[in-house]
């Protein structure tokens, strides 16, 4: 393994976040290395989504530090102190972090193709032809070749979510965040999305996935993190955490899926 292959893409140190008086994240430490797939498990309200949203600064962070590919997303270091960046600079840094949402959030007024090239062409200033070529490749990759002219509402939930994945991939992100990508889907559509994600994991995409799909964690995760009450309770390989959990809270949570 080369040195760059193990460099952390995500470094979260002692991340804290409160909503009003409620502390939702109470010091999260997490490192994700290039090519790693980390699955985050945890009961509802444990702060999984909040943590994910803090990584690309959709949610502001109250304390600690988050580095993506060695940079603070929302700050720059001047004289050993962090200085808040202009929102446009934050937007620029977000390009490297893809995100897939529970509710897909495709742009309903744009076709599938327009959804996918909006980032590369509109944000990164890529040539339209180049972006279209890549968009078509990505659509093929997620199993939706020739659907580029459809509007999102003409697709099933599973298809929409795969388009959303393609849209995020079109920016060639260094890190992909998935927030319960299959929770809004009918059971029979979950498999197609998980399969796409497993393929991405196998291809070496760096991913942090919040999900309740234990089977996906077992198949695709390099590491499983269990969160509860705003802290990481335990983490390790899927075998360690899922099959041999050390903490009572982890056992209680997993018992529900057996």
């Amino acid at each position: 393994m080369t040195i760059t292959a193990t460099r952390p893409v995500l470094e979260a140190r002692n991340v804290r976040k409160s909503f009003g008086h409620v502390e939702v994240l109470k010091g999260i430490d997490l490192e994700v290395r290039t090519g790693e797939t980390v699955v985050v498990l945890g009961p509802s309200g444990s702060g999984k989504s909040t943590f994910l949203r803090c990584i690309n600064l959709l949610e502001s962070v109250d304390g600690g530090r988050i580095l993506v590919d060695g940079n603070d997303v929302g700050y720059e270091v001047v004289d050993e102190r962090l200085h808040e960046l202009h929102p446009n600079e934050v937007a620029r840094r977000r390009r490297d972090i893809g995100m897939v949402f529970q509710q897909f959030n495709l742009f309903p007024h744009m076709t599938v193709l327009e959804n996918i090239i909006e980032g590369p062409v509109g944000v990164r200033g890529e040539k339209k032809q180049v972006a279209i070529e890549r968009a078509k490749r990505l659509l093929e990759q997620v199993g939706l070749a020739h659907r580029e002219d459809s509007y999102p509402r003409q697709l099933s939930g599973g298809q929409q979510q795969r388009v959303a994945i393609a849209r995020a991939l079109a920016m060639e992100p260094k890190l992909m965040l998935f927030d319960e990508p299959t929770s809004a889907l009918d059971p029979e559509l979950v498999g197609e999305v998980l399969k796409t994600m497993e393929e991405l994991a196998n291809e070496g995409l760096t991913m942090v996935v919040v999900t309740h799909e234990i089977s996906f964690a077992r198949e695709a995760a390099d590491r499983v993190v269990f969160m509860d009450g705003g802290v990481i309770v335990e983490q390790g390989t899927p075998d360690q955490v899922i099959d041999n959990p050390q903490h009572e809270r982890t056992r209680a949570f997993l018992a529900r899926f057996l």
Binding site: A91, F101, N105, F107, G119, R153, R167
Partner: protein
């Protein structure tokens, strides 16, 4: 191996279900509608009778003045005023709405204060106020605040009735448009902004590419209503002696004492303009609804009394 009976099944028609069939059902009768139609017909006949036999309408005078040059010029002023006031109103409304939902508390409260003032005072009063601006500010100067002044103008010479009317109607419209635009912006799911932000779009770009296009569906229909209201609201400017359609008609009947015919002339033009706008609005509305499942009915459908059979029942109004 057994032979598949698929082919036989495919060619065989499903046997007709025994007993009565919905397609032959007797339609429900609507005796109430016939009674209502009769009542309306009688009332209409009376109305037509009065319109024709009552000399006071002065239809010949109406015909004579309907396309008179002075009336046309008045109509031109009314239309010009409508367009300018609406343009000011829409631009101002978008700016105010963006301020209203911005993260800057100062901008938020300034915009809120503006909307509060202009919606809370009568348009007529605002018009008269702008017309009499010189009483408040005898001169208007451009220069450095509290510093030297470069240009000083006499307020009376620049506040013509036209400018007072534009200011009065436009600034007032801005406040109403702001609320319409704000409602439209808030109707777009916050997930849309987040999805835009997640692919690295700046706030301005998210607004332009993601939020505004989707908000349009909620902004355009009430804006159409505002334009139609504005055509009628311009009649207020006759109090500041601007020769719009109504003022021109008034000026004529003050000379000829043919009050009712001249008011009818004005009404006919207002009706023509608002009807055209209504048709245009329904076309624009349909354009913005393209791609959404909810299709608004067009102008012709609106005129039809019978609901379209192809429309699902939920889209029809309550039936009698």
């Amino acid at each position: 191996m057994t032979a598949h009976p698929v082919q036989n099944e495919a060619s065989a028609r499903p046997a007709a279900a025994p007993g009565p069939d919905i397609s032959e059902a007797r339609r429900r009768r609507h005796p109430g509608r016939w009674v209502a139609a009769l009542v309306v017909a009688v009332l209409l006949a009376q109305l037509v009778n009065m319109l024709v036999t009552n000399e006071n309408f002065g239809w010949s005078v109406v015909a004579q003045w309907l396309t008179a040059e002075s009336i046309m010029r008045g109509l031109g002023v009314t239309l010009l005023l409508t367009v300018i006031a609406m343009v000011i109103g829409i631009v101002l409304g978008v700016l105010l709405a963006v301020c209203r939902i911005s993260g800057n508390p100062l901008l938020r409260s300034v915009a809120g204060g503006y909307i509060w003032f202009f919606r809370g005072t009568p348009t007529l009063v605002q018009l008269i106020f702008f017309y009499n601006l010189s009483a408040l500010l005898p001169t208007i100067s451009f220069g450095i605040p509290f510093g030297p002044e470069f240009i000083t103008l006499n307020t009376n010479s620049i506040i013509t009735p036209m400018l007072a009317a534009i200011l009065g109607l436009g600034l007032n419209e801005g406040a109403y448009m702001a609320e319409i635009v704000r409602g439209g912006l808030l109707s777009v799911d916050s997930g849309q902004r987040e999805a835009g932000a997640a692919i690295g779009m700046t706030n301005a770009r998210i607004m332009r590419r993601i939020v505004l296009p989707q908000a349009m569906r909620f902004i355009v229909p009430p804006t159409g209503n505002q334009v139609i209201s504005m055509v009628k609201a311009t009649a207020l400017v006759s109090v500041i002696a601007l020769s719009d359609l109504l003022y021109t008609a008034q000026a004529i009947y003050n000379r000829t004492f043919e009050t009712i015919p001249m008011l009818i002339v004005a009404c006919i033009w207002y009706l023509i303009v608002t009807s055209i706008l209504y048709v245009a609005q329904s076309f624009i509305e349909r354009h913005y609804n393209r791609g959404s499942r909810h299709q608004t009915t067009g102008f012709l459908d609106f005129l039809k009394i019978r609901p379209r059979a192809s429309l699902p029942a939920v889209m029809e109004g309550p039936t009698g």
